[in-house]
């Protein structure tokens, strides 16, 4: 699992989603791997506004990387190639191949094996599926293809 993905995921338990303690999930026993990938500055520029910077700082510290600046690079800072390259290295080139991701709210751990995290919940943690709530905004219509 790459560092960028860790910034997009939280605990799969529904009750945890509203708790600030559930994000970011914390890495434990993490084995790291660096992989060189093509530098794609337009991707970093596009994705950076969607990154939770505080969470990225936390993860980066937990994985033992040098501290990130206090605030997210914005505006002119995004024209600085070194800044973008550093972010590219952290977000896309760094991955956790083995370890655990643990929720700070419920304490459940998700295993990472060979770089793949498993977010399936045991049945006592998964919410009973209730489509009646979700269906509130959904309507079906017969529409002919254009």
């Amino acid at each position: 699992m790459k560092v960028i993905t860790a910034n997009f995921v939280t605990c799969a338990v529904k009750e945890c989603k509203t708790s600030p303690a559930s994000f970011p999930l914390h890495f434990h026993d993490a084995e790291l791997e660096q992989q060189e990938l093509d530098f794609q500055p337009e991707f970093i520029r596009n994705i950076l506004p969607r990154i939770d910077w505080e969470a990225l700082r936390t993860i980066s510290n937990e994985l033992g990387f040098p501290s990130l600046p206090d605030s997210k690079p914005e505006g002119d800072a995004l024209e600085n190639e070194q800044t973008l390259r550093d972010l590219h290295r952290l977000l896309l080139e760094t991955q956790v191949t083995e370890g655990k991701l643990t929720c700070g709210n419920c304490g459940h751990s998700y295993m990472i094996k060979e770089g793949i995290a498993n977010f399936l919940l045991p049945s006592h943690l998964g919410e009973k599926y209730c489509p009646f709530v979700l269906l509130d905004h959904i309507r079906f219509a017969n529409i002919l293809p254009v």
Partner: protein, 440 residues
């Protein structure tokens, strides 16, 4: 300016939506002047040649694009139109090495007739030289006849002569050659449910995959859609409830990653993880530019979510003093899931996860029987951009593309009705589509 698009004559209902999507990607306005599903030729209006090139370069269903020099229902009309449109430009081509090609749809001409047709344009005064390989300019005479399919379907009568003739100058090829490059037969890692290369690439186009974007497939399987989205430059994520589907059987190798490696797309691959869409670990915030998926619909691939079948309580099993779910190799119980409930989940997920104007392109099966036709799911925060259909013998499947509306805009869903299919516990109870296919 008017341009002539030559389409591949298949997947007809996908052709216009894909062309529109390619124009959106190129950031140009396109006007479709004439289109006929029984013909490969389509006249469009675009701002300039650069725009025509850009649109064609992204399309899979377009074969190539031409500058329109004239059109008519017979040669008299065509020649008059060619004079009117292009007489002032003939001088520019007077000494250019050129080639004339006769292209026909559902018709044919003898070599002698072809020569005669080419000579009939001699008034343009092109001195050549004629160069059959790598000419600087290639002119096409296109003749459109009435095809047997149209005769059979619409009951029109077949005529001896073409019903439409065009003269055009070739501008650019499309990227249709990628259909061969991504052919499943040559792909390292596939399964029985892998989507074919052509439709995967079209799906990625409909969802506007492009460099700098982040795409996701929540039912990734062997990765057909995310490979296609990455081909167009997007970085991609995939998830599946069954990790074996993207991991593959070979230990130490990630099956889906082998595909990215094969096509030189390793830098576009972000991650795959095992998860269930109803309990997705993705944060409830807009991070995705596009979602491309073919949800399982319970015929070839079972419809399942995490949970226990009704009647079975959720118990925490303890084995040797350790809760079962903490033991290595634990497989959580899964239960059957409704076909429409699944679509609802995909739509709700898209609304939460897509950035404004981000797109969801989702496949959905339906029957060809009008009485049991399956309706299109709608959501007030999603606008339906296009619906295309691929027909099979007893059923068909649709590709529905939605746009995430920016906050403050709502789509009209008033004509739609509510529907719930989560009654019952077995796969057949929950899934009307499965019931019908089984009967057939």
């Amino acid at each position: 300016m008017d341009y002539l698009v030559r389409f591949a004559q298949l997947h007809e209902t996908f052709r216009r939506p894909e062309l529109q999507a390619c124009a959106t990607l190129a950031g140009v306005d396109i006007g479709i002047i004439t289109y006929n599903e029984y013909s490969p030729y389509c006249v469009v209006r675009l701002p300039d040649e650069a725009a025509a090139r850009a649109v064609a370069k992204r399309s899979i269903l377009v074969k190539d694009i031409f500058e329109l020099w004239g059109e008519g229902t017979n040669y008299e009309e065509l020649h008059a139109d060619v004079r009117r449109r292009t007489q002032h430009r003939w001088n520019d081509y007077i000494a250019v090495p050129w080639k004339f090609t006769i292209d026909y749809f559902a018709g044919t001409r003898s070599p002698a007739q072809k020569g005669e047709i080419i000579r009939s344009f001699s008034y343009m005064g092109f001195k050549g030289p004629i160069r059959l390989t790598n000419p600087d300019e290639e002119f096409f005479v296109m003749e459109e006849y009435i095809d047997d399919v149209e005769v059979a379907r619409l009951g029109v009568s077949r005529a001896e002569d073409p019903r439409k003739i065009y003269l055009s100058r070739k501008i650019a090829d499309s990227c249709r050659e990628n259909v061969l490059k991504y052919d499943l037969k040559k792909r390292r890692y596939i399964s029985t449910t892998s989507m074919d290369a052509e439709l995967s690439l079209i799906t990625a186009n409909m969802a506007l995959a492009a460099p700098g974007k982040l795409f996701f497939d929540p039912f990734v399987g062997t990765g057909s859609f995310i490979v296609a989205a990455s081909h167009f430059g997007a970085l991609t994520l995939g998830a599946d409830i069954d990790g074996r589907s993207f991991r593959g059987k070979e230990s130490g190798k990630l099956g889906i990653y082998e595909n990215f490696d094969q096509y030189g797309l390793k830098s576009k691959f972000v991650d795959t993880f095992t998860s269930d869409l109803t309990n997705t670990p993705l944060r409830r915030t807009a991070v995705l530019d596009g979602i491309v998926c073919d949800p399982p619909y319970g015929v070839r691939e079972g419809l399942r979510v995490l949970g226990n079948r009704r009647g079975k309580p959720a118990v925490n099993v303890i084995i040797d003093g350790v809760p079962a779910y903490l033991r290595p190799g634990f497989i959580p119980p899964k239960k059957p899931y409704g076909f429409e409930a699944l679509q609802n989940d995909v739509l709700n997920f898209a609304v939460r996860s897509l950035v404004p104007n981000g797109r969801l392109s989702m496949w959905m099966p339906t029957t060809n029987d009008e009485k049991t036709e399956f309706p299109v799911p709608m959501h007030q925060n999603l606008e339906i951009v296009s619906i295309s259909v691929q027909y099979f013998n007893t059923w068909s499947r649709r590709l529905i593309t939605y746009r995430r509306l920016p906050e403050g805009e709502l789509s009209d869903t008033t004509q739609a009705r509510k529907k719930i299919d989560d009654q019952g516990t077995s796969a057949d109870d929950l899934n009307a589509f499965r019931r019908i296919v089984r009967i057939i």
